[in-house]
Amino acid sequence: MIDAIVRLSVERRYLMLSLILVLIGVGVWSFQRLPIDAVPDITNVQVQINTEAPGYSPLETEQRITFPVETALYGLPSLSYTRSLSRYGLSQVTVVFEEGTDIYFARNLINERLGAIKSVLPPGLEPEMGPIATGLGEIFMYTVDAAPGATRENGEPWDATALREVQDWIIKPQLAQVPGVIEINSIGGYDKQYHVTPSPKKLLELGVSLEDLVAALRANNANRGAGYIERNGQQLLVRSPGQLKTIGDIEQVVIANRDGVPLRVKDVAEVAIGKELRTGAATRDGVETVIGTAMMLMGENSRSVARAVSERLEDIRPSLPEGIRVEAVYDRTTLVDKAIATVEKNLLEGALLVIVVLFLLLGNLRAALITAAVIPLSMLATITGMVRTGVSANLMSLGALDFGLIVDGAVIIVENCIRRLAGSQQATGARLPLKERLQVVYEATTEVIRPSLFGVAIITVVYIPIFSLTGVEGKMFHPMAATVVMALVSAMVFSLTIVPAAVAVFLTGRIREKESAAISAAKGIYRPALELALKFRWPVLGGAGALLAVCIWLATTLGSEFIPQLSEGDMTVQALRIPGTGLEQSIAMQKPLERRIKAFPEVDKVFSRIGTPEVATDPMPPNIADSFVILKPREQWPNPDKPRDELIAEIQAAVGQLPGNNYEFTQPIEMRFNELISGVRADLGIKVFGDDLDQMLNAANVVLEVVESVEGATDARVEQITGLPMLSVHPKRMALSRYGLTVDDLQDLVAAGVGGENAGLIYEGDRRFQLVVRLPEVIRRDVDSLADLPVPLPGGGYVPLSEVAALELAPAPNQISRENGKRRVVVTANVRDRDLGGFVEEIKGRVRQEVDLPAGYWLDYGGTFEQLESASQRLAIVVPVTLAIIIALLVMAFRSLKDALIIFSGVPLALTGGVLLLWLRDMPLSISAGVGFIALSGVAVLNGLVMVAFIRDLWHNQGDLVSAVVEGALIRLRPVLMTALVASLGFVPMALNTGTGAEVQRPLATVVIGGIISSTLLTLFVLPILYTLLHRQDEKV
C-alpha cells in the first residue's frame, strides 16, 4: 500500500504539490483560531456554587445553606466529588465533574437542582454559580484611585466608598461587555450604603422600636404605577412616585404620631452614607485602593481578551470623573507575549539551524529546501490538528517540538534519492530522462521508506506512556505529547507524498554526489576508527557497559523536581495571619508589608487583595492577603543579572522582620491553580469524616499521634478548624418569658442592631444603594456595653440585654469543611527519607489497630501519594507494554528478534548521554527531562534502524559480514550524522534560551542533545560490533 502511495505521489506529482496550497490555506485559517496561552490549563471541570449569607456564622451557614445545596447535588451524572466550605457569611460548594464533562451541561444540571431547593433555603439567600472560568481566567487587573488632591463634585476628597462607586457603576458595566470577559470582580473600598443609626436612648424615650423604624422606612419608599386614564382621547399614564432620594428625604420619614406630633426618623436617628460590613479589601503600594479583576470565559484566547480589556479601559478613561486614575496593574498579554516570543525564537532558530545543516551535509540547496519545507508544512498541519482537538498553544504543548526530529524521515528519503540519482547519472553519464528519473525516485524512496516509517512509528509509540499520565501531570503533558505526535504523523505523511513528489519535480538538474568536506573528513576518520573498534570489540563493549553503569548511578544522584516551574515574571506573596484577625487589622498589617516590598528597586508595583472579593471566586478569610508583586523589566534593575531566586530570598528576608505575618511565595497563575485544584497538597492526608466537630478533632488528634510515631513522618499536623473567637448571645428563656419576649425578638434586635437590617434601596438613576438600619458604630464596636443594650418591651419600657441573654466569648470553628456531603477534618503529613508506599501502608495498619472511632465516623486516605501510586502502577504496565510494542515493530520490520534487540541496544546507550549532560548542567531529573528521554529512545531506535537495515541488505547481497558491516556503516554515516545533527541542533536554542518559560523546555532539550550525541557515537561503533558478534554464527552456517 505504501508503495502504491509513493508511486501515486511520484506520478501525480503536480497534484500532490497543489495539495500544499490547500494545506497552507487550512493551516492559516486554523492558526487564527488557535487559543494561545502561556501554560496549559490544569483546572479540573468544576463549578463553584457561592451563596452569600450576610451575618451567618460558619455553623449557621453550614446548617442552613451548605447542607441543602450539597444534598441537592447527590446523584448528578458524571459527578466526581463535591467539597464545600462554610465561613462567615459565605457558603461555597465546589462540584468537581469527571474529566471531559461539558461545563455547560454540568452547569445546567446544577441550575436545575438549585431551582428545586429554593424553598428550603432561608428567604433572601440565592445560591449562584461562579463564573465560567478556569485557573487561567484572571487575565487582567486594574486599580482605581484618585490623584493626590483631587476632590469630588461636592468638594470632599475621594474616599474608598466613592472610588468603589466609580468602579461599580462606571468602569465595571463597560468592561463587562468586552467579548470573552465573563465577570468583572471588584474588591476594595466599601459598597456605598445609606445608614440610619438610631440612638437606643431616643428609641426608648419615644417608645419606638428598631422594627418600627425599619417598617416605616419600608413603607415610605416606593414608586407605584397606576395604569392609565383616557382624557379627551389622549392616554395618560398614572404613577405615584414615592421613592426616597436624598438623606434629607430619609430624615423626614414619619415613624409614628405622638400626641398629634409626627415623629420623624431624624428625631431618633442619624442618617448618613455609611460603610458596609465588608469581607474584603484591597491595597496598593501601602494605600487602600479598589481593584477590578477581569475574568476570562473558559476556552477564550487570553491574549486577545486581555488586550481587548486593556483597549476598552482606554476608551473608558474619558468618561471617568476628573482626578480618578485607572491603571492596569496586571496584564496577561505581557506573559503570553514573552512566552510566545520564547517559543518562536526557539522554533525559528531551530529551523534555521536545521536548514543550514541540511545544506552543508547534502550539498544541494534544492534538496535542503525540499527537506526544510516539511518544517512549515507540518507546523501548519499540527496547528490544524491542535485546533481540531482543542489543544492550546503554550510553552508546554509547543515545548517538545523539534524540527530536527520532524524532518528525520524526510532527510533519510531525500538523502537516499540524491545518492541514487547521482549514482544513476554517473552510470549513464547524462541527465536522466523523465521516466527513468521518476523510477529512480520511486525506488530510492521505497528503499528507505520502510525503516523511516517504522522509525517515526516508533517515536510516536514511545509517547504513549505520557498519555497514560492523569491528573495535573496529564493535563500538563498530554498537549505536549499530542502536538509532537501530530507533528510527527503529519511529517510522516508528507515524506510519503509531498517529499517524493517535490524531489521528482525539482531535482531535475545535474546531481553530483559531491561529498561535502565535512562528510569526507568524517568518513576519513570513521573508517579506520570503526575498523579499530571492530578489532578491539570487547574493550569497546566493556567501555560502553561501564559508561552505562556510571550513568545509572549518576541518575540516582541527580536532584529531582516534579514539574519544572514556569517563571511567570511576576510573583505573589501570600501573607497569612492567624485566624480571627479582623479585616482592618489585616489591612494595617498589609500596608507596611507593601511599603517594604515596594522599596526594592526591582519592584514596579505591589498590590494586594485581602479577604473575599465581591464574587467569591477565591473565598479567603480576612486574615489572608494575596499580594501581587510586579517586577520591573530586567533592564531597569540595578543589577539586571540578579537571579530571581536571590531577589525572592531578599524580599523574604525583608518582610520576615515584620511581626505577625507568615508568607508563601508563589506566582499569579500558579497560585490560582492551587486555589482551584486545592484538595490535600501533602504526601498523605487522612480525612476524618463525621458529625460532631469535637469528636472529629479528638479522633484527628489520636490519628496525629499515630502518624507522628511512624518513622519518616514530618510536618504532621491537624487542620486548624477552630480559632475564630465568637461572641454568642445565648437567650435566657425563662427571663425572656418573664418580660413577655420571645427568642426571635431578641435575635432580631441583636442581628439588626449589630449586623444591620436592610430597609430597602435608594436609587440614584441606575445606581442603587442599600438602606440599612443599624446601631451607631460607637455602640456596635464596644463589646462590653453590648450587655447594657436596652431591649424594648412589648408594653413599653426596657430590659438590659444581659438580663435576658448570656453573653459568652469563646473560640468557635472559623470554617467548616465538608467533602462528599460530610464534615471532615484532615490530618496531613509528609514523608522524608522513606518510601512513600511503605509509609502509607504502615500508617494504615497502625491506624486500623490503634484508632477506635465512634459509630458514624470513618477515615479516608488521600494526598499526593495516591497520584504517585496510580501513576507508578500505570507506568509500570504501560512502559513495558510500550517497549514490547517497539520490539514487535522492530521484529516486524526485520523479521528477526536478534536485529530488533541490536537496534534496541541504542536506547540505554542514548540515555547515558542525556544523564551525563543533565549532570554537567546541574539540572534535576523532572518529568520534562523524562519526556526528553522518551523522545530520545525514539531517535536512538531510528538511528539504529536505518543502519541495521542497510548493513543487512549489503550482507545479503555481498555475503561478507565484516565488509558489509563496514560498508553499510559508512554509507549510512551521512544520514545518521544528519538526523543526529538536525535533531540535536534543532534543540540547541531551546537548551540555551533563558527567556520567559524556557525553564520548562530546557531540561527536555538538554536531555535530547546529550542523548543524541552519545547515541550517535555509540550507534556508529557499538552497533556494528554487536551486529558482527551476534551474526558470526549465522555467517558460518
Binding site: 466550605l85 501531570e473 552505562l548 545509572i552 536532584g559 529531582s560 523536581e561 516534579f562 514539574i563 497569612l576 495571619r577 485566624p579 484577625t581 487589622q585 498589617m589 473565598p619 520576615g656 522582620q657 511581626p659 505577625g660 505575618n661 507568615n662 508568607y663 508563601e664 486555589e675 486545592s678 504526601d683 499536623r717 487542620e719 486548624q720 418573664r738 456595653s785 436596652p790 426596657y798 430590659v799 438590659p800 444581659s802 473560640p811 470554617q815 469543611s817 509528609n830 514523608v831 522524608r832 518510601d835 504517585l868 501513576a871 507508578s872 512502559v879 517497549l883 534487540l901 536506547v907 540505554p908 540515555l911 544523564v915 534535576p924 518529568i927 523524562g930 528521554f933 554487536l1026 558478534l1029
Partner: protein, 317 residues
C-alpha cells in the same frame, strides 16, 4: 547479552518512573522550608517557636507596638441603667381650695415662678362668704392651673406647683444588678446634653409586679433645663477600689486558651499568663503572673499574638 540489555532497559525505565516519587518529596521539603523560613532564628522545634516573639525596637516602633510599666491603679466598676426624671416628692404640691367657693381673683398663671407665701388666688368661701387667699406653700413653678375667675373651686386641685430644682432620677435596677447597688453610690447621669453627678439616696422596691427596683438619685436643676419625664442614661459606680497592680484591658490577649499579657524585655516579647481579678471595662486587676514595674505591651498587642502563632498558619482551602 540480551539479558543484560533487558536489565539495562528496565533500569532506565525505573529511573524514568521513579522520577516523580523523588520529585514530590523534594517539592514538600521546599514547601515546608518556605513555611519555616521566617522563624528560622527561633530554632527548629515548634515548641520553642511559640514561646516568645523577637521584634526589633525599630520594627516595634513602626508597627505601633507600645508598652508601659504595670503598676497600681484605681478600678471603677460601673453599672449602666436608664431612668426617667421625676419631680421631687417634696417639691410638688396640688393646691386645693380650703373651703369651696367662687374664685374672685387669680394671681398666678401657668408657668409663673412663685415664691413661698405668694398669693395664688382669692376665693370667696361658700359658707362664710369671706374671701381668703390661696398661697404658694413653697417656691416653685406653676405647672398646672385648672381654675379661672368666676369658677367654683371645689374638691379639684386648682394649681400644681412644682419645685423643679432638684429633680430626681428614677433608675431601673434589674435583678441581675440589684446585688451591686446600694444607697450612697456615685451616679453619673447623662441627660444627652450635660453630665451630672449625684449619689443614690435610696432604693425603692416596686409593688406593681415589675421585677425591677427603683434607685433614686437627686439631680440639681438650677437652670431648670431639665424637665420631668425625660429619659436619661446613668452609670452607677458600684465599686471604686485601689488595686496594687492593674493593666489596661486592650493589653489582654487569648493565647492557647489562657489570658496573657506580653512582657517586653529589650527586643523580646514574652507571653505571660495572668490571673485576672476585677475589671471595670478599661482596666483589670492582676492577681498573679505579672510583677509591678514590668513593661507590658499596651498598644497593638494583637501583633505579638499574631507573630507568636503565625507558624501554625497556612492557607488550607
Amino acid at each position: 547479552m540480551k539479558v543484560v540489555n533487558y536489565l539495562l532497559i528496565l533500569a532506565s525505565v525505573y529511573v524514568l518512573t521513579a522520577g516523580p516519587t523523588h520529585a514530590a518529596e523534594d517539592d514538600h521539603s521546599d514547601d515546608s522550608h518556605a513555611h519555616g523560613d521566617v522563624n528560622e532564628e527561633r530554632g527548629e522545634h515548634e515548641e520553642s517557636e511559640s514561646t516568645h516573639a523577637e521584634i526589633s525596637a525599630e520594627m516595634a516602633e513602626q508597627a505601633g507596638i507600645r508598652s508601659k510599666a504595670a503598676g497600681a491603679g484605681i478600678l471603677e466598676r460601673t453599672i449602666s441603667s436608664y431612668g426617667r426624671l421625676v419631680p421631687n416628692p417634696d417639691g410638688i404640691a396640688l393646691i386645693r381650695a380650703r373651703f369651696p367657693g367662687q374664685v374672685t381673683k387669680i394671681n398666678a398663671s401657668l408657668g409663673d415662678a412663685v415664691k413661698a407665701g405668694e398669693p395664688l388666688a382669692s376665693i370667696e368661701s361658700n359658707d362664710s362668704l369671706q374671701p381668703y387667699t390661696l398661697r404658694a406653700p413653697f417656691a416653685g413653678t406653676v405647672i398646672q392651673r385648672n381654675i379661672n375667675v368666676g369658677e367654683l373651686a371645689g374638691e379639684q386641685a386648682l394649681f400644681t406647683i412644682a419645685k423643679l430644682d432638684p429633680l430626681w432620677v428614677e433608675l431601673k435596677i434589674f435583678p441581675g444588678q440589684r446585688r451591686e447597688i446600694a444607697p450612697g453610690q456615685l451616679v453619673r447621669i447623662d441627660t444627652g446634653d450635660a453630665q451630672h453627678e449625684s449619689r443614690i439616696s435610696h432604693i425603692v422596691p416596686q409593688n406593681s409586679g415589675s421585677p425591677y427596683v427603683i434607685a433614686r438619685a437627686e439631680i440639681a436643676n438650677a437652670e431648670e433645663l431639665l424637665s420631668p419625664g425625660r429619659l436619661v442614661s446613668a452609670s452607677i459606680v458600684v465599686e471604686r477600689i485601689e488595686v496594687p497592680l492593674v493593666i489596661e484591658n486592650r493589653a489582654l490577649q487569648l493565647l492557647d486558651e489562657s489570658q496573657v499579657v506580653f512582657v517586653q524585655e529589650g527586643n523580646s516579647f514574652e507571653p505571660r499568663p495572668v490571673e485576672l481579678g476585677r475589671t471595670d471595662g478599661q482596666f483589670t486587676e492582676i492577681l498573679s503572673g505579672l510583677k509591678p514595674g514590668e513593661r507590658y505591651v499596651v498598644e497593638n498587642s494583637y501583633l505579638i499574638k499574631a507573630d507568636i502563632e503565625k507558624s501554625s498558619v497556612s492557607d488550607d482551602d
